[in-house]
């Protein structure tokens, strides 16, 4: 294959990976710290996209829509945590699966009732509709480069948050010794609510960024959810580093699989990858340490 083509496809793989990371980061954070398997994560992705699309239609500005929709998904996440998730921490993972699965049904229907069954439109931000010339002969859509940048920025911010701030320290402590942290006077309940809100906001951000290039419709979160689950399992439950590495791996593997293999095999590539890695390292690539 022509090296320039290889480069562009590699960029495509990275971009897909970074999108997945945005989804996976929130999911693995919530699981790692709160031991909560949240299938409704995909619904937060969907809500982020719908909210941003509506806000953009009303305000006319992509950036404004993003800035408003982000805290909105954060809030929705916190509400869900307070209403439903709070009672699930002591429960079996399976009960969590059931409740979050029920939430998926609920949200899928909710968006259809509020916004109608037709797919929705979100415009690319003005100024980012074109493409840049990376090298002579190699052009790449500007918006996708922004996505890569945004994803890496989020990764950096998360790292700083977890490793360098007091909140991050509480999160890490809460992951290992919940009761102890509670006994030390920290409001564990509030911590968990905030954390769930952060996870939801991350998923919502992924949805908002994906909105202009994907169709915004009911159930859009379901297929991304499965990919995110694959990513966090490969990366190691609870590890942000693992999620980043795994998402890039999955993104690149999927991209090259699609162009090199017949369609049936191409769809199987990421599952094959996951099965192979889990077989050798059942706990995933990294352990839960943020």
């Amino acid at each position: 294959m022509d090296p320039m083509l290889l480069l562009v496809q590699g960029l495509n793989g990275m971009q897909l990976g970074v999108m997945l990371f945005l989804m996976a980061a929130g999911l693995t954070l919530v699981f790692g710290v709160m031991n909560l398997l949240n299938l409704a994560h995909g619904s937060m992705y969907m809500m982020g996209a719908y909210l941003a699309a509506s806000l953009q239609q009303h305000t006319g500005s992509f950036l404004l829509a993003l800035l408003l929709a982000l805290p909105a998904t954060f809030l929705i996440g916190m509400i869900i945590e307070a209403v439903a998730m709070r009672r699930l921490y002591d429960r079996d993972h399976l009960d969590q699966v059931l409740v979050t699965f029920a939430l998926i049904l609920f949200f899928n229907e909710l968006v259809r009732i509020i916004w109608g069954p037709q797919a929705h439109f979100m415009a690319l931000p003005d100024g980012l509709t074109g493409y840049v010339t990376l090298f002579p002969g190699v052009i790449y859509p500007a918006y996708r480069l922004i996505i890569i940048g945004a994803g890496l920025l989020v990764a950096l911010l998360l790292y700083l948050l977890i490793m360098k701030t007091r909140l991050g320290m509480l999160i890490r402590a809460g992951a290992s010794h919940r009761e102890m942290v509670g006994a030390l006077g920290v409001n564990i309940k509030l911590l968990y609510t905030v954390l769930f809100g952060i996870g939801s906001a991350l998923a919502g951000l992924a949805g908002m960024m994906a909105g202009p290039i994907l169709s915004i419709e009911s159930g859009m979160g379901d297929s991304v959810l499965i990919l995110a689950l694959v990513v966090i399992v490969i990366g190691g439950l609870g590890s942000i580093r693992g999620a980043l590495l795994a998402s890039i791996m999955v993104g690149v593997a999927d991209t090259f699989g699609r162009i090199l293999l017949p369609p049936a095999l191409a769809s199987m590539v990421i599952y094959f990858l996951m099965a192979a890695i889990l077989y050798r390292r059942p706990q995933g690539l990294f352990s839960a340490n943020g």
Binding site: L37, A84, R87, L88, H93, L94, D95, V97, L98, V99, F101, A102, L103, I104, L105, F106, F107, N108, E109, L110, R112, I113, D222, I226, L229, V230, V233, L237, P262, P263, A264, S267, M268, Y271, F272, M274, A275, L278, Y279, P282, Q283, G284
Partner: protein, 314 residues
Amino acid sequence: MADSGYFDLRSAVLLLLLAALAVIPLFGDIFYTRLFTRIMIYAMAALSLDLILGFGGMVSLGHAAFLGVGAYTVGILSLWGVQSAFLSWPLAMLFSMLIALVIGAISLRVSGVSFIMITLAFAQMLYYCFISLKGYGGSDGMTLAGRSSLAGLLDISRHGTFYYLVLCILLLILFAANRLVHSRFGMAIQGIRDNERRMLSLGFPTFRYKLVCFVFAAGIAGLAGALMANQSLYVGPALMHWKQSAEILVMVILGGMRSLAGPILGALGLLLAEEILSNYTEHWMIILGPFLIIVVLCGRKGIYGMLKGANDHD
């Protein structure tokens, strides 16, 4: 304090349920006969999942794959002109068990969330595999010419006859599962679920036990798949999709794991709720969602658990 004797609420409900199932076709309405046939087949599938999930502690998100394999066996054989149930149904079970042997041998080497995801991975791979099958309908699936023939003994193309056959098979499976669970093997499996390391130190070949349980459950699922193919006269790859696995999982959890009646109650509850709600509004999912949440949050151990009461010995 053990619960009081033979006659308690749980057994009463179960008996009532079976009695009700026995008389449904007598009301003559074909629609309800077909609806409950479908419910019973799903109950079978849920029961088979419960064997490995509730009793074996193995959470499989790929169980629907075995249903699909069973259904496709019947479908493909039907396409080749083989209509005899005595041939296609055992073969459906056999192929499901063979596939389970392969999947189980690899997946059971890991546990916990990894096991969940690996079973999911295999199920998805099978799903994509069947989608790309050219001669057998691909993603559209294919229809069957007619129901399997039982060499003149029974005519299951008649809905009532098919209903009672399915009911008998369900009862048989219930009986067999009950015997299995209370046998030495069943005790061992539950012991492995509770503490595998202890069982290993006691000398049990835990891997082998789990694999046998896994394969056995797949066989039952394969039979359920064969019956499903007969019920709707249609097979398609959607039968193996992870969403189908999730739905069966929901039935088991909803009804109550670690019990044999639970999956049946779960299948009944979920499918009836879908049926009744969809009559009222096309937005039924928005009601079903919170309904499921409330059931889980209020009661532990599912619907069956709610019937158990205070004296709870698992």
